[in-house]
């Protein structure tokens, strides 16, 4: 019954779980592209510990339940030494206990819910977490002198719900007023009702904590209804299609992100160019995070000089000031990345960097 499949010792097996199809495929595909790029680069450079890296990618179809199964599959069939993924917190939460129980280190590129890394000492992430990002945007709004903010949350996404929660907490505690709180579900297209209600509160800005798919339409409809307040949001906005769809309506809106692909730092521009050459589009944050998660793993393997579970775990946990595309990454005792956030704004149809807010 038990498997006798011979493992290939000449390579290092790394697993990746991503939503390549289904509802959130656009995030999964980006992070996968980033990860794959990192793997290709390291292999081209001769691999690690004298071996090539073999990336085993499994699609979870954006479905609950699937992530857990494929995590098990990767661990027990592909004999992976480490696990990368998932973008969505819900699915990372499914994988985390499995990785923890099997003693396989797992790094999530972009799951921002605080609970993800609570699964145990084998579970890490390279992105900042919701409380930080929510606080950052609240600070930013206050710094702009916006005291009255309305909130629009995607109640289907724990990510959006989390951001809203932490934004609200900080904003209200620091003298701001929430003048309207509305929600919708991802996939919705019509937000006129919520926006009409929000309009009544005459907000200085609207915090739209959801993903870019809906935010672009929210902006368009807000302008149609004559609401001119700027929209604020988180890293979920990051995608070229935000501006493609939102167009002029996005002008003057702000969001926080892990990195800016406009950033002129050579490492970043190098990454952007390579990515663009390969995929025909500029990388978004998911791609950058996918790339960073793989690179941090490789860095740890090199330092540990082993792919042994405990050794690798300790090496990852020791990651300090790692120069990633998405900033200088240090993993704290909670295995979360502490790193700065950048605030970006949309100007003349382009995403431009405004400022960096440190943790």
């Amino acid at each position: 019954l038990s498997s006798c499949k011979k493992t290939d010792d000449s390579v290092i097996n790394i697993g990746e779980v991503a939503a390549l199809t289904g509802g959130t495929a656009t995030f999964g595909q980006s992070s996968h592209n980033g990860t794959q790029m990192a793997v290709d680069e390291i292999n081209a450079a001769g691999g690690l510990l004298g071996k090539q890296i073999k990336l085993h990618t499994e699609d979870d179809q954006s479905k609950q339940g699937e992530a857990g199964i494929v995590a098990k599959k990767l661990i027990s069939r592909s004999k992976i030494s480490a696990l990368l993924g998932e973008v969505a917190s819900g699915r990372s939460l499914e994988m985390a206990p499995i990785a923890q129980a099997a003693g396989v280190p797992m790094i999530s590129p972009a799951s921002t819910n605080p609970k993800v890394t609570e699964a145990g000492d084998y579970v890490f992430r390279v992105c900042f977490i919701d409380p930080f990002q929510g606080t950052v945007m609240s600070k930013f709004a206050l710094s702009k002198g916006w005291k009255k903010v309305a909130i629009l949350t995607d109640s289907k996404q724990d990510y959006s719900v989390g951001l809203t929660e932490f934004f609200k907490k900080h904003f209200a505690a620091n003298g701001g007023t929430i003048v309207g709180e509305q929600s919708y579900g991802s996939g919705d297209k019509d937000f006129k009702a919520q926006l009409t209600a929000i309009k009544g509160g005459a907000p200085d800005a609207i915090f739209a904590s959801g993903y870019y798919n809906e935010v672009a339409l929210i902006a368009v409809q807000a302008r149609e209804l004559g609401v001119s307040a700027p929209l604020l949001g988180g890293d979920g906005w990051d995608s070229p299609s935000l501006i493609e769809v939102g167009g002029d309506a996005m002008e003057g809106c702000y969001f926080s992100n892990h990195f800016s692909n406009e950033d002129q730092a050579p490492a970043i521009q190098d990454f952007v160019k390579k990515y663009e050459a390969k995929h025909g589009a500029k990388p978004d944050a998911m791609a950058a995070l996918g790339y960073d998660s793989a690179k941090i793993l490789f860095d740890a393997i090199k330092r540990a000089n082993s792919v042994d579970g405990p050794a690798l775990r300790d090496a990852i946990a020791a990651t300090k000031e790692y120069e990633g595309i998405t900033g200088k990454i240090t993993l704290d005792s909670q295995r979360n990345a502490t790193k700065p956030a950048v605030i970006l704004t949309i100007k003349d149809g382009k995403v431009v960097y405004t400022e960096t807010i440190a943790p």
Binding site: K189, N213, V220, V245
Partner: protein, 307 residues
């Protein structure tokens, strides 16, 4: 008060787009007695056809007045989707003609998945901006109320299609054959009806309507992606059942009711402390309430069976 009227308008337009999609849904159901779960996906294909057309002929279209280019886009996409619908019917549904309806339903789910995932492969998962077929400018801004041209076009199209469809189904020979076929296909073929042709026609018409719906929908909400048809498809289905499935004016009424209530709940629920996210369930709550009291839908005939 002004806000309330704006919400009513929002609801009316939202409802009219549901109604538009529901019309095609209910017509296909009325004739073939099966829930065409793939309707929403043909709807998506309609939008993508228009998208492709504009990528290809963009400059040409930009040179002619928008009503003309809109009409052309609609026409071409509707024809493309009608042909597609007929091909799907031919390949997937026709072999199941005399089979239990549940089989056809599963096939429809299969067709729906097939279109969605092939779409995702072909078009990519990321949403794309839909060209501005109808100027996105507001035509009225009086008294704080806003109405856009696109909204008016959608409402007008819905009314037009409602009248046109009802005429086809109730007044033409083809319509009579469609209704007869839905009741007893054996008997209708004994009357000389070529069932295959009628079914193809129905499918073609339904798909054309779906395509039109997709294009207008995308004009209102200008982002398209391969799964864009799932939610409107579901809402249209609910609207069709609410109005009495198979009943054309019923579908329109159902669409309006859902649109308006949904909007009002979204707009005002927060005032009583209920997150507006619950509005997603509103369509279903109305549906269940109405069906409990009127089991055959609002305008559906009580099919009292003679024993």
């Amino acid at each position: 008060m002004e806000q309330f009227f704006q919400q009513l308008l929002n609801g009316l337009f939202q409802g009219s787009i549901y109604a538009l999609i529901a019309l095609g849904y209910t017509m296909v159901y009325g004739v073939l007695r099966f829930i065409n779960f793939a309707h929403g996906d043909v709807f998506m294909l309609g939008a993508f056809t228009a998208f492709g057309l504009h990528k290809w002929l963009g400059p040409t279209f930009a040179a002619i007045p928008w009503p003309v280019s809109l009409a052309l886009t609609l026409l071409i996409s509707m024809v493309v989707c009608a042909v597609l619908g007929m091909v799907v019917e031919r390949l997937a549904y026709r072999p199941l003609r005399n089979r239990p309806r549940l089989n056809v339903l599963i096939t429809a789910i299969g067709v729906s998945l097939f279109i969605e995932y092939t779409g995702q492969l072909a078009f990519g998962a990321t949403q794309r901006p839909f060209p501005e077929l109808i100027p996105r400018t507001a035509i009225a801004n009086t008294g704080g109320l806003t109405i856009s041209i696109a909204q008016v076009v959608v409402l007008a199209t819905t009314v037009l299609l409602l009248v046109g469809l009802r005429f086809i189904v109730m007044k033409t020979k083809m319509g009579l054959a469609m209704r007869a076929l839905s009741l007893n296909p054996t008997a209708s073929t004994l009357m000389g009806v070529n069932n295959g042709v009628v079914i193809s026609f129905t499918f073609g018409l339904g798909s054309a309507l779906a395509a039109a719906g997709g294009i207008l929908y995308a004009s209102l909400y200008p982002s398209i992606e391969p799964f864009m048809g799932v939610q409107p498809g579901l809402k249209a289905f609910v609207a069709a059942v609410l109005g009495g499935i198979g009943n054309i004016p019923g579908a329109a009424l159902g669409g309006l009711i859902i649109g308006i209530t949904e909007t009002l709940v979204k707009g005002y629920s927060q005032n009583v402390g209920i997150p507006s996210g619950y509005s997603e369930g509103v369509a279903f709550v109305i549906l269940i309430l109405i069906l409990v009291f009127k089991p055959s839908g609002l305008l559906g005939k009580v099919e009292r069976e003679k024993v």
